[in-house]
Symmetry: C2
Subunit: 135 residues, 2 copies
DNA sequence: TTAAATGCAAAGCTTTTGCAATACT
DNA sequence: AGTATTGCAAAAGCTTTGCATTTAA
């Protein structure tokens, strides 16, 4: 669901929703495909038009191809939905790391059990202190 | 740590940090003291000056009296730190509810165990589906 | 051909900053 | 008296919107 993802597959998904494959849209997907972390709209746009990037991100999020995450303060960040598991951000050093699937699963289980919420951590991260920054 | 909190105690904390008790500062604290949920800067300001409210919130957060939380999109929200436990927000209905202390404790324990993070949920909420909104 | 999407410009919303005037200690 | 704080105005940062033009299907 990640290493095997191809640009062609993503573009097929786009077409399957009746959307066109424009060059701006292709650029957004290629930027996200090449990235190993969530990107800001500005990083995705590069020299291109920011408004088009934002519109495309919104469209792509609506069809489930993209997700956006707020890893801290500052601009939102975007990643391919297929790569969007949970995140944890350290409030001391500012590092952000993906949650291991096993950890995510166990945390979700406990949140459901204790708080009744079916939670993901793909939109807001878990905020706390990473191992290095604990007193 | 909450029902027993008084304006006088908060103002003493302010003075103990060498800060003055101005009317704008007093208004901010009284608004937060009267609220039963985190407020936006605009809600706190009312007719008063927004810039002063933001500056006061920043100052009060620096001395540990106030915390700010992002319950979803839209403006940040502020509450007395003594009242700021964890939050959970439903992505379907938009409701936000405080986490029960027991649930918060258990969730923190599991996050520490599985992800190595000493986490709170007082800045970003846990996002998911509340009991009412689960399929 | 024609509706979707673009690129530019302008506006919107939240938050921050500069600065002279005010008021707490 | 002296300085922290205020209130106003302006700017900054991120995102959205309007609209004429381009372009994928």
């Amino acid at each position: 669901m990640d290493g095997t993802m191809t640009a062609a597959a993503l573009l097929n998904t786009v077409r399957s929703h009746g959307l066109r494959v424009s060059s701006a849209r292709r650029c957004v997907l290629e930027a996200l495909l090449a990235a190993d972390r969530p990107l800001t709209a500005e990083e995705i746009a590069g020299d291109g038009d920011l408004a088009s990037v934002y519109r495309n991100l919104e469209t792509l999020e609506a069809i489930g191809v993209v997700r956006h995450v707020h890893l801290g303060h500052g601009p939102g960040r975007y990643a391919l939905a297929a790569r969007s598991g949970g995140w944890a951000t350290c409030e001391a050093c500012g590092c952000s790391t993906p949650l291991e699937p096993a950890a995510l699963h166990e945390i979700r289980r406990v949140v459901l059990e204790t708080a009744g919420f079916d939670a993901g951590f793909g939109h807001f991260p878990i905020v706390g202190r990473c191992r290095n920054c604990q007193a």
